[in-house]
Amino acid sequence: MSNEKNEERWMENRMQRMRERRERSLPAFAQVWRSAEARRSVSRQHIPAHWRRLAFASATVVFAAAIAGYWSLTKGQQSRRVERDFARVEGALLTYWQAPTDVLFDTVSWNEPAEP
């Protein structure tokens, strides 16, 4: 019990000495407070720049998305147009195509297996 008391007193004394040493070289409250205020004003000045950067990034993303949308739309329209043209030409061919000759029918015999 006495040892414990001594120990605590010893520790308090050490801490007291530490306090004396530290307090002689501590920065003043006004100095630290002023630095904090300076940091605050600097961070306030930086906010518009930060927001500008964010706005520019968002605008870029929106612009890129718009271009990509427009491109895919025109691409789809173009491919549909090509498809329609092909269909038209194909239809015309099927309607008006006539075999120039019947020679092919003469040479093929339906009872024999076709040669490889």
Binding site: E7, R14, R17, V32, A36, E37
Partner: protein, 179 residues
């Protein structure tokens, strides 16, 4: 800050500045410039109302908790920086306060050894010893500041004391004569 709130808080902060700085110093493992940065950050948080005193505890308890949290964040940030940038920064020693008038060189060296040993203790042990012996808080109040249970705080307190006892041996048990 509202004028009333700011004036009252400013007065309290000013009155507690020495203790706050010392506490920040302990939370930063004795690094003087880190402690100054941490305290600046704490004041900045108070100015920007990111840290607000709600009145649930004493102002000092609240302030010390904010300092502790800021210091922990700063330490984590530094650790990550060290790990990823592989940059070893030398710890800045606190400016020596010189010798206490009337103290012998031997005593000053002993005091240095004590402070170094204290700074090398695990964070929670160091913190509880500081709060109890430097600030004169009870273990219960220290537990509140540290955000741990009373039992845990008591355990850290005992372990910290026993580590210092191991290091300083008989000098701890002998009653000290004031010089």
């Amino acid at each position: 800050m509202d004028p009333f709130e700011s004036e009252a808080q400013l007065a309290q902060l000013g009155a507690l500045h020495k203790e706050s700085f010392s506490w920040a110093l302990t939370c930063c493992g004795g690094n003087w410039s880190d402690a100054q940065d941490v305290l600046q950050t704490v004041y900045l948080h108070i100015l920007e109302k990111r840290a607000r005193f709600g009145g649930q505890s004493e102002f000092k308890t609240w302030l010390f908790s904010v300092i502790r949290n800021c210091a922990a964040k700063e330490m984590r940030r530094q650790m990550i920086r060290r790990v990823f940038l592989l940059r070893h920064e030398d710890e800045q020693a606190p400016p020596s306060g010189g010798m206490v008038p009337g103290a012998s060189l031997e005593m000053a060296e002993f005091q240095n050894a004590f402070e170094q040993a204290l700074n090398k203790l695990p964070r929670r042990q160091r913190e509880v010893l500081h709060l109890v012996f430097y600030e004169g808080l009870t273990i219960r109040a220290a537990a509140q500041v540290m955000g741990v249970s009373l039992g845990a705080a008591r355990q850290h307190y005992e372990r910290g004391k026993s580590k210092l006892r191991e290091q300083f041996g008989s000098q701890v048990e002998e009653p000290e004569h004031e010089q």
